[in-house]
Amino acid sequence: MAITAFTGSATVQEAVPRKRSWVALVLLLPGLLYLVLFFLVPLVSLAITSLEVPSATTFGQYDAAFNWQTYGVVVSQYGTQILRSFLYALLATVFALLFSYPLAYFIGVKARRWPILQGLMIVLVIAPFFISFLLRTLAWKAILSDDGVVVGALKALSLMGPQGHFTGTPVAVVFGLTYNFIPFMCLPLYTTLERLDVRYLEASTDLYAGPFHTFRTVTIPLSLPGIVSGTLLTFIPAAGDYVNASSEFLGGTSSTMIGNVIQSNFLVQLNYPAAAALSIILMAIILVIVSVYVKRSGTDDLL
């Protein structure tokens, strides 16, 4: 299943020598070509761009060089935004997990007796995808805006100061990220919980484990593949997200994330080396975090 794709990373090494199969190679060829053309080439070009120096003559023109100092410059210049991105992504992932797990558990385990309800609820989880996430985020901006319903109600109840506002604050950005990634968290959780054998839970209660211990020692470990894929599917895109944190949507100057910085460097300031260096740094950090995470969670033998 595509949703659990991340967790099957370490494949078992077969000791049996395989015959060379041309068919397999031919079948692999389109995929390999695609990857070379649309992943490897841009990646190399990005790395080259990140090392370029500004042209002496024209603004926005860059000459090939080996100017690795760019990396140091962007890290010191945008360190806050890099850290903030990962903090926001982490918060959004945690919140999405906290919201999605009970939801997925209900749909996948409790609703098994009513397949129609189960199907309906899954459709409701997926339903937001029917509308562009840009529109949905804009809708939230309208709802949370200073003259919107939520702020108005909170102000009327004196739960919020007269100068208070939601949009442009970190809270709004994390809220937007959480909201947008809940389906990505929910679906992989659902697929593992739907296959959860309740007889293990019965065995656990039979062996003197109360509901809490059963959940901690049986349910969570058995649904770990879903938790790992869900958190990865949320954390990775959330860390590089530039929509929610953009000031045109839910963000503001105090909540700029790395994605916004890259976007502005590329498209506004035309500082291509800085943007490229930031992209590569973002990619490297995510790669390290994800490999450590997948290795530590040890979900390989559950699949």
Partner: protein, 398 residues
């Protein structure tokens, strides 16, 4: 937690007026049962008779609609499964796939905060001779080994009551025999109360001290295996526990100790002490292995029932014994098991034979066969399996 220490010995189990209704059907109707402490008790019945539901009620995995469950005299009806001094060996084993064999066995001990769970888990694994596989995952073991781990995981907690839900169902015949003996040995060693649910009558009879035959949510008969076999009370028990030849007829004469029944012109005598009813129309039975096949008409002897002549219509050789089906006019077909004392069957298909048996081997039943009486029972395990196979084939062809 209700139990914080090991049980010294098994506790008795008492079910009082248990009813269990599921939406749409009743699984158990007014079940009363007493399982004495330290005994090996078997609940025997066909699939769907409510035996697994009974076990789940005792384990606390289901709640009774009405009635009480007492373990060691304490009412546990409203307690949760994890509060009951009961452990189950599940039909599917339900070994936790994310834990090693050792951790599986130590699970219950850890939850009850028993000191030194690892040593105790190793001890339990040694009991089932699997200590060398303690570090493996359950899915790396064979079915028989998994079954033993499941047993160790339950026994290690020394529950007052150990429930076994058809734990040997998935094993092949040889392994099952071996496990039956091991289970019995373990039960004697640890002295716990075992409640064993099975549809395999042979398994129930070899292992249990007491067998309760269950049918349609009720207990038909309960007792020691040999009593149940030699003197079944109902048609269901007579046919489910082994095979029986049954005859229905009116009582024609009564003496001090015996009654004689007229079955389509044949006079069949049965001791009063072995018959449930002494007047009117009664159903008598005799076990197939109690019958003797005779090729010449015997002289009438007191204390022997004789019917015949009949014709052998089927002979099937099964190693230890041979099964003959004899068609007797007006009585229908009778089943005879004969030990193979000589090489192979003694009579061939089509031979004319007489059947005789000792009067003391017959039994009189409480009820009469409801459906066509002379058909062999279709509610034993083999027939159910055959019916299921036919249904499956039909389904697959669709």
């Amino acid at each position: 937690m209700a139990t914080s220490s090991f049980a010294d010995a098994g506790a008795d189990l008492e079910l009082v007026g248990i009813h269990k209704r599921f939406p749409g059907f009743t699984a158990i109707e007014n079940l009363n049962l007493l399982v004495p402490a330290g005994s090996f008790f078997a609940l025997l019945g066909p699939s769907g008779c409510g035996k697994t539901t009974t076990l789940r009620l005792v384990a606390g995995l289901e709640e009774p609609t009405a009635g009480q469950i007492l373990i060691g005299g304490k009412d546990v009806t409203s307690t949760k499964p994890f509060q009951r001094p009961v452990n189950t060996v599940f039909q599917s084993y339900a070994l936790f796939p994310h834990m090693t064999v050792l951790e599986n066995v130590a699970f219950g001990l850890r939850r009850r905060h028993v000191g030194d769970p690892i040593t105790k888990a190793h001890e339990a694994l040694r009991l089932v001779e699997l200590d060398h596989l303690a570090a493996r995952r359950p899915q790396q073991l064979s079915g028989g080994q998994q079954q033993r781990v499941a047993l160790a995981r339950a026994v290690v907690n020394r529950p007052a009551l150990l429930l076994l839900d058809e734990p040997l169902g998935a094993l092949d015949l040889k392994l099952r025999r071996q496990m039956q003996l091991e289970l019995k040995t373990i039960q004697t060693e640890v002295g716990l109360t075992f409640v064993h649910v099975t549809h395999d009558q042979e398994e129930a009879m070899t292992m249990a001290d007491t067998v309760a035959v269950m049918n349609k949510g009720e207990i038909e008969q309960m007792g020691a295996p040999e009593d149940l076999y030699e003197l079944p009370k109902t048609v269901f028990v007579a046919n489910f526990l082994g095979q029986s030849n049954l005859f229905t007829g009116a009582v024609s004469e009564t003496t001090k100790d015996t009654i004689a029944v007229d079955v389509a012109g044949n006079r069949i005598v049965v001791p009063k002490s072995r018959a449930a009813r002494h007047t009117g129309t009664v159903t008598l039975g005799v076990r197939p292995e109690k019958l003797s096949l005779l090729t010449t008409e015997p002289d009438a002897v007191a204390g022997q029932n004789v019917i015949g002549p009949g014709r052998v219509i089927d002979v099937s050789f099964s190693g230890v014994s041979t099964q003959y089906i004899v068609e007797v006019p007006r009585l229908g077909s009778m089943v005879v098991f004969a030990q193979n004392m000589v090489f192979g069957p003694v009579v061939d298909r089509g031979s004319e034979v007489w059947l005789s048996w000792n009067v003391d081997h017959g039994f009189g039943l409480v009820d009469d066969p409801h459906d066509v009486p002379r058909f062999p029972a279709d509610d034993d395990t083999v027939s159910i399996a055959a019916q299921k196979r036919v249904e499956l084939t039909v389904e697959l062809e669709d």
